[in-house]
């Protein structure tokens, strides 16, 4: 769920851009350091961005009968950590605005704050919490992807409520309205994205275990004894 171009007043668009900027700049610095120390990782980071974009093209069978598309930021936060996702998510949002007409340029800051900052951090927080409580990788991934999606949706609804307060009940009433309307698609999507994450990481655990070990998501398997 991206806010369309022109939907936010100029002051809100600037405000959300300023709010997202420190996180995106921090992510950019991390990427610059990473590329300076290991230039070969430029391509891996590019691949991560492309994967996040392409993940949004995977159709999920929807509980309501139609189909919906995941945001992919929860998986990205688990795989590549939230600071890097702040930058990669913003790049993906820019590409979605200019290649798919999803979102916009003046609303890029607001969308980046919701999808590239709040979503990944909420998802990563949920993942760390589940792992700390003794949960395995798959419950952690489910929590990360569902929480990232829900946090993005709640933040976007908040941004819309602030920009378009209800005539009678103000921002609080508008928040209830936007949360209710978008809950029809976003709550099933959050559950669906969590399920997709479980299926994705289950396949990765079977077929790409070395990569997951290198990313620190799985403990290295002990050497077989002879």
């Amino acid at each position: 769920m991206h806010i369309a171009e022109g939907f936010l007043p100029a002051t809100h668009a600037v405000g959300w851009t300023l709010a997202a900027a420190p996180f995106v700049v921090h992510g950019a610095r991390q990427v610059v350091i990473e590329v300076r120390e290991r230039p070969e990782n430029t391509l891996l980071l590019g691949a991560a961005g492309a994967f996040t974009f392409v993940l949004s093209a995977v159709k999920l069978p929807s509980f309501t009968g139609s189909s919906s598309h995941p945001t992919g930021t929860g998986a990205g936060a688990v795989l590549f950590r939230p600071p890097v996702m702040a930058l990669l998510g913003t790049i993906v949002l820019l590409f979605q605005a200019l290649l798919l007409a999803h979102g916009g340029l003046t609303t890029l800051g607001a969308n980046a704050f919701a999808m590239a900052v709040v979503g990944p951090w909420a998802g990563y927080g949920a993942y760390r919490l589940v792992r700390r409580l003794g949960g395995g990788l798959l419950p952690g991934v489910f929590a990360a992807m569902a929480a990232a999606d829900l946090a993005t949706y709640v933040t976007t609804a908040g941004q819309l409520a602030l920009a378009l307060p209800d005539a009678e009940t103000g921002v609080a009433g508008a928040l209830v309205k936007f949360l209710s309307v978008f809950a029809l698609t976003q709550v099933p999507l959050a559950v669906g994205e969590g399920l997709l994450g479980v299926l994705l990481f289950r396949t990765l655990t079977a077929n790409a275990r070395p990569e997951l070990e290198r990313l620190g998501l799985l403990a290295a398997a002990p050497e077989p004894t002879r």
């Binding site: 022109g6 891996l44 069978p61 007409a101 819309l160 209800d166 309307v181």
Partner: protein
Amino acid sequence: MTGLAVDDAAWASAWRRRSPADKLLLCGGLVGCALALPAWPGSVLVGLTAVVLALGPARVPARTFGRAVRWPLSFIAVGALTSVVTVGTGGLGWAPDAAARAGSLAGHALAGSAAVLLLATTTPMSDLLPALRGLRVPAAVVEVAAVTYRLLFVLLASLRTVREAQTARLGYSTPARGWRSSGALAAAVLTRSWDRARRMQEGLAGRGMETGLRVLPEVLPSSRAFLAASVAGLAAIVAVGLAA
């Protein structure tokens, strides 16, 4: 054909050879007007200008433009409608100025979306990314974005191929199979993206290009006539928008 209709339109557009800076000035100006001017007549003028320029001189297929506008249209319709419904003690109702408020909101959003779409359907991303360097975005970040742009078409092709194979094997014949296939599809695309990146890196390293994929940007000269017409047109929109 890249598989993304907007990108295909950008490469085929009659404005493809125009300077990205010229198009950024025109479309940025239109986006600014859509945001700042009153919906009537400002947004209407901006929207009409963007559509006429896209379908006329830029020769963007009407079908591509129309299909691309459909995406923001659903969000705009739901968002604008929700914003003018009031939640009070007496239940749901319409805001006093519902029609004007919804019209203004939809007008700003549609005009802005049309202006962004004019840029998107006339300027390939590979022309816009070098412009980010002018905005002092670090070279490493622009390079990561450029690799993302180049790789996403490869991954989209992989996605389509794998999905086609899954469908042929009845992978989406029931909801349960559909879920399993979607998970396997996402995993296949992710592992392929890692594999592609590793193979590209090895290929570049073998050619002595240790610092990544550097390409020579195409030089597209600026046109004074285009710039003058853009400034004059934007000034006219601002004048009419403020005078009304």
